[in-house]
């Protein structure tokens, strides 16, 4: 699946910050770590702040830190701040008018959407952080 850039930046930021909730990271540090646009990331962090997942800390050494509930927040919760992935699997706007071909294709796309939804909804930030910590360091 292909996530919008804002969703991808949000997941990277939340997972990065949730890995060590006591640590503060500036938008610049996160942007540099993941080689992403600072401007775009700053907007995403503001949205995450409004959603109550990160908080900004002012002053020397200030930055952002994770302040959500890592065991209760799922990847889908983060993504849905920026886009709808619930899946509009209908090939034709009005399913009543749909041909058999369109209906069949809608069923197939719905199967894909349902699997994506179930996966993102069942992985909490805590679980994703554990997976990150299990993988060998790269780069």
């Amino acid at each position: 699946m292909r996530l919008q850039t804002a969703s991808r930046l949000a997941l990277l930021s939340v997972l990065d910050l949730a890995a060590d909730p006591a640590r503060q990271r500036s938008a610049g540090e996160i942007a540099e770590a993941y080689r992403v646009s600072l401007n775009h990331l700053a907007k995403v962090l503001r949205d995450l702040n409004r959603a109550g997942l990160v908080e900004s800390v002012r002053g020397v050494g200030g930055g952002y830190r994770f302040c959500g509930n890592a065991k209760r927040t799922t990847l889908l919760d983060v993504i849905q701040i920026f886009e709808n992935v619930s899946g509009d699997a209908t090939v034709r706007a009005n399913p009543i008018d749909a041909s058999a071909t369109e209906a069949a294709l809608s069923l197939i796309l719905k199967e894909i959407d349902d699997t994506v939804q179930a996966t993102l909804q069942s992985i909490t930030i805590d679980t994703a952080v554990k997976l990150i910590q299990k993988l060998p360091p790269r780069g």
Partner: protein
Amino acid sequence: MHSSQSTIRIRTATANDLIAVTGLDGKITGLAKPDYWRDLIRRFGGRKQDRYFLIAEAGTELLGFIMGEIRAWEFGSPPCGWIFAVNVEPDKRLTGVGTVLFEALCGKFRENGVATVRTMLARDDTLIMSFFRSQGMMAGPYIELEAALD
């Protein structure tokens, strides 16, 4: 380790657990199925080496249970451990009971030379899916397919 995990005792289920197991399942599913659980406790409660029905308890209080079996060569799969059911008393969730049960069953599988654990669950059962994922489980190489029989 969660602070309460050290007080949890794991043992094999016996016929004496039927009422508590049926009660816990009924509390969660809304259905009382004593015959079903009697049969499972009889078949999985230690009669065969590769079948497990484990109980988690604190004192005499049932906290939860887990059930599984080692199966081999179905769908071309080498021997692996299957988890068929896991239930935890609702007010004891997020206290580590499920993790202790999961680790105990995986330990039994490992003792029998099995290196993979597997389960299957409803796609919309987010609670249980989140639990298994929190134990490090991810989608495996198989996919379940089904069809309505006309």
